[in-house]
Symmetry: C2
């Protein structure tokens, strides 16, 4: 395969990954009840994720990559992404926050690899857009990392009180 062919395949995967991200983040935000700060930050990132899908669509269009092939590639990207995303089904807030952090880092690594590919095929506009998206993923990952000790401690306090819902 040529570098361009690999790059185009990975761009399709990135778009599928963002569709999956939106679905998982929405489920997680919908389940949360007692962690409003976490819920607000996740909802903000859902908006960012939708914007990222638009940027990726524009990038795919510029390379003449057919949108109808998304369906085929979803299976492939899903098998990989669902391995991480499956963890979102937990209703336990600590595992959810950890899973969110892990998924963000899956995205960060994917974009880092994609940026390397974009450089190699000489797609300067791709480098710019992919770097811009990666910055939003890094910001989300850092927010979760900073708030994870507090979410954990809130969970432990709620979990110790009889009759208080701690998990979501």
């Amino acid at each position: 395969m040529t570098p361009e062919e690999n790059y185009h395949d990975w761009l399709r995967d990135a778009h599928a990954m963002e569709q999956q991200a939106e679905s998982m983040l929405s489920k997680m935000a919908g389940r949360l009840e007692h962690y409003p700060e976490l819920e607000t930050r996740i909802k903000q990132h859902i908006d960012e994720t939708k914007q990222q899908q638009v940027w990726l669509n524009e990038l795919l269009d510029r390379h003449g990559i057919d949108n109808s092939s998304f369906k085929d590639v979803m299976g492939k990207a899903s098998a990989f992404g669902q391995a991480v995303g499956g963890m979102f089904t937990s209703d336990e807030v600590v595992k959810g926050a950890i899973s969110g952090y892990v998924f963000e880092n899956f995205e960060i690594a994917s974009y880092t690899s994609l940026i390397g590919a974009a450089e190699q095929v000489g797609d300067a506009e791709g480098v710019r857009i992919l770097t811009q998206i990666r910055e939003q993923e890094i910001a989300m990952a850092e927010w979760l990392y900073q708030h994870l000790p507090n979410v954990t401690q809130q969970f432990l306090l709620r979990s110790a009180e009889p009759g208080v819902e701690a998990k979501k």
Copy 2:
């Protein structure tokens, strides 16, 4: 559940997570043929992972947590960890490096949460050991992050050459 009970459960999970890390890293290092720098770094981290298991065992002993219960907890930790770890079965070096980075970040998030729990239950020695382990995970994640563009570009070059094995 009391904070201590949750903390002890999560310490068991961390030990199971490191057993899984050792297994996955060993499989990945065993498959690599044409990426010697990556292979060397993974092997170094396998040694660190074994040392981490010893540190975690000492911590579990100090809290009187029975080692025989590992077997029961493995299922629970595995279901969560395998979701990430399953990605290691790919023989494609780029996906492997991404998966490695993702798994390291799963460990970083787990220890960050655990350190928050250790602080809450007043286990200063736990905070010290868990922070020490987390530093090794951060170093491994950063190495993979820094080397991911180069691994990707090597893969693209090899992939474009007829008759050259690129994937492992």
